[in-house]
């Protein structure tokens, strides 16, 4: 409580300091060239020297305080009655903390009611100490900076350096997050591969983690049916829909449509990309899947299932259309006009020009678009969860229910999780495979696009 207040106080101090330092610097200003930095930079320099030490102290204290508070409570005589078991102890303490914050909360355990008071006292004590510490740091920083408000002081370069440092830290965060994700994937997948041989995982054709008991469980973790389902739905059926539709609409939009039509069609097409995947999911499950089943029954299949690779793949293909069409659109538009002029001037028709000159020239860009679309499709989850089914089938029959890598990850990580059980850990191995595949697809696609751009510049 008091810590939040002190944070506001530090910011207010910074703001006031900005004004003071700038005004002081203004008094020093005696015409052009009289100072190294303009007064406003002295303002920023001073404000930063107040705010940054304050924030730093605040951050350190926020991390350290719970430990200190805990220490005080455990030293309290009432804490002697706490049970030895860690879990029960933590439950009582968190209840006590809730009561300390809001006395009207009902106490399930009388002990937590008794502990509430000591907690309140300890939090008050350590909070006040922390607040003082933060203020001292902020003021000390400010005092240091105040002496620097001099004509010759390079406040401008210092401020620029801080700006750069802030930007660096922010961009590092994104990178570090990625590194952290990869790290946890690799680590957990490593635990999984201690129990299951990687070879059996990557080449086995039998997937039944539920039956994995006893000594050798590798045979239950053959992921090939999942890979097959993923590829069949995301890279084959979906692309059968997305490539022709996306490509042809891109050709129409870039080559035939008038500016007016293009102005309407393009945004409408892009709406497809804005539909939440869960909406596609129930569209697939409730609208498309029953039709697919009826069709399967009509062509004479025996007892077709409601969930099918075809239903999921068709809807996924529709979802992917904007990816293919916008990449194809860009690469067709990037082919110089002189190319099509050259062809038309030889007496080629428009479609001959498109087929024989524009498409070959735009092919690398189109291929890259398709790859990005595939990597998007195989990572897609909602549609397959709702429409593709859960059975690990190694089948080429599009009407069969199939499962995918993403679906299995959802299965493993929802409900009961046991991070020492290969069943749960298999999700990480699957995630790692998916990550590597989409990474490779993306890298290839970006390379292709880059080379293609260079060719025409």
């Amino acid at each position: 409580m008091i810590l939040s207040a002190v944070l506001l106080a530090v910011l207010a101090l910074g703001l006031a300091g900005w004004t003071f330092a700038r005004n002081k610097a203004r008094l020093l200003y005696a015409g052009r060239g009289s100072m190294h930095s303009m007064p406003v930079y002295h303002g920023w320099h001073f404000a930063l020297w107040i705010v940054l030490p304050g924030l730093l102290a605040w951050g350190v204290w926020s991390v350290a305080m719970p430990t200190l508070v805990n220490g005080s409570i455990l030293a309290d005589p009432a804490a002697a009655a706490l049970p030895a078991d860690d879990m029960q102890r933590a439950a009582i303490l968190s209840e006590a903390r809730a009561i300390a914050a809001d006395p009207s909360v009902f106490a399930f355990d009388p002990l937590s009611a008794r502990l509430a008071d000591p907690i309140r006292v300890a939090e008050g004590k350590w909070g006040t100490i922390g607040a003082l510490l933060v203020l001292i740091c902020a003021l000390a920083g400010g005092a240091h900076a105040w002496t620097r408000v001099r004509a010759g002081f390079p406040a401008r370069t210092r401020v620029e350096r801080v700006v750069m440092a802030v930007l660096l830290v922010v961009s590092l965060m994104a990178i570090l997050t990625t590194v952290g994700i990869i790290g946890s994937l690799v680590f957990e997948a490593g635990l999984f591969f201690k129990d299951v041989s990687p070879l059996a995982f990557l080449t086995g054709t039998h997937w039944s983690p539920a039956n994995a008991h006893g000594g050798d469980i590798s045979a239950n973790f053959g992921a090939v049916p999942l890979f097959w389902g993923t590829i069949y739905i995301g890279a084959i059926i979906a692309m059968f829909v997305a490539i022709p539709l996306g490509l042809m609409s891109a050709i129409y939009l870039t080559q035939y449509a008038t500016r007016r039509v293009r102005g309407w069609f393009k945004p409408l097409l892009e709406i497809l990309a804005g539909v939440p995947t869960v909406v596609y999911g129930y569209f697939a499950a409730l609208t498309v899947a029953p039709k697919v089943r009826d069709f399967a029954a009509w062509i004479g299949m025996n007892n077709p299932s409601t969930e099918s690779a075809l239903a999921a793949g068709l809807v996924m293909g529709v979802m992917i259309i904007p990816f293919v069409s916008s990449m194809a659109d860009d690469s067709l538009a990037a082919v110089p006009r002189s190319m099509s002029d050259g062809s038309l001037a030889l007496g080629a028709t428009r479609s001959e020009t498109i087929k024989k000159v524009l498409l070959p020239a735009a092919l690398p860009g189109i291929v890259a678009g398709v790859m990005l679309a595939i990597s998007r499709a195989i990572g897609e989850t909602m549609i397959v969860v709702m429409a593709a089914g859960a059975s690990a089938n190694l089948s080429a029959n599009p009407f069969a229910s199939m499962t995918t890598v993403t679906y299995q990850i959802v299965q493993m990580l929802t409900g009961d999780q046991e991070f020492n059980n290969p069943k749960t850990l298999s999700a990480f191995a699957l995630g790692l495979v998916l990550f590597v595949v989409t990474l490779i697809l993306n890298i290839i696609a970006l390379r292709v696009v880059k080379r293609f751009r260079e060719a025409y510049e």
Binding site: G342, L346, G347
Partner: protein
């Protein structure tokens, strides 16, 4: 006897509301090179592009008046622009070979129009076209190399060979040497002189020296109007109009 190939009568060209060409009438003869000269933006390229209906590809371009090819109105409803462009070929300012092999660049047009009966036939057409464009000896051993790997001058001659390969009657050239160095330019100019035996040639150029070197007739355009048209030697030595004289003596442009 005059041998008129192309005849323009009171041609106006508009881009939207803007009038780019105003009432141009001109006769273009077989066996001659006709040069269009004039300062930038005077409409000479626009007029050239209306001679094979390339302006059709620009959304708001509009042509009025009559343009006759062998007495036939090329803007008549019965005239197919695709067939027209096979008869009136065009070479552009910047060399624009297709991203295909040298052979395929030449074979493209004949294949579309079904001019060859087989591979052997096509080989003959490719060799003949490249020879006409003076490129055969330089590329005969690497017909499968990409056309874009050639030098700028060679690329432009490839584009000329490509235009020649569909056996047109007229070849329009839109500043064909403006992206080339002087040596490559000299090659193309020689080539133009050779080609005029077979085709009527119309060339747009910025360079008055080039017009004087390669053409027999010259038309001077200014602000969308054709100011003067006549024998090249006349235009350059004894122009009738003051504006022509100012331009060729370098007073403006």
């Amino acid at each position: 006897m005059t041998d008129i190939k192309l005849q323009a009568r009171n041609v106006d060209v508009y881009y939207g509301q803007k009038k780019a060409i105003d009432n141009v009438s001109i006769d273009i003869d077989n066996g001659l090179v006709t040069a269009f000269i004039g300062p930038s933006g005077c409409g000479k390229s626009t007029f050239l592009r209306s001679l094979n209906r390339m302006n059709d590809t620009i959304a708001d371009a509009r042509v009025t008046g009559e343009i006759l090819l062998d007495g036939e109105d090329i803007y008549a409803a019965s005239m197919d622009p695709v067939a027209l462009r096979a008869r009136v070929g065009m070479v552009f300012q910047k060399p624009n070979p297709f991203p295909k092999s040298i052979y395929e660049n030449i074979a493209y047009g004949p294949r579309i129009h079904g001019l060859a009966q087989g591979k052997a036939d096509m080989d003959v057409i490719v060799e003949k076209s490249l020879t006409q464009a003076g490129l055969w000896n330089e590329v005969k051993d690497r017909l499968n190399d990409p056309g874009t790997a050639l030098s700028g001058g060679q690329q432009q001659r490839l584009c000329i060979a490509r235009a020649v390969a569909v056996s047109p009657e007229v070849i329009l050239m839109d500043e064909p040497c403006s992206a080339l160095d002087p040596i490559a330019t000299a090659r193309i100019e020689e080539l133009i002189d050779d080609l005029r035996q077979t085709y009527a040639i119309v060339i747009v150029t910025h360079s008055m020296q080039q017009a004087a070197r390669v053409s027999q007739r010259t038309a001077f355009f200014h602000l969308g109007v054709m100011v003067e048209y006549g024998e090249t030697s006349e235009i350059f030595t004894n122009p009738r109009e003051a504006r022509t004289k100012d331009y060729i003596t370098g007073r403006y442009g």
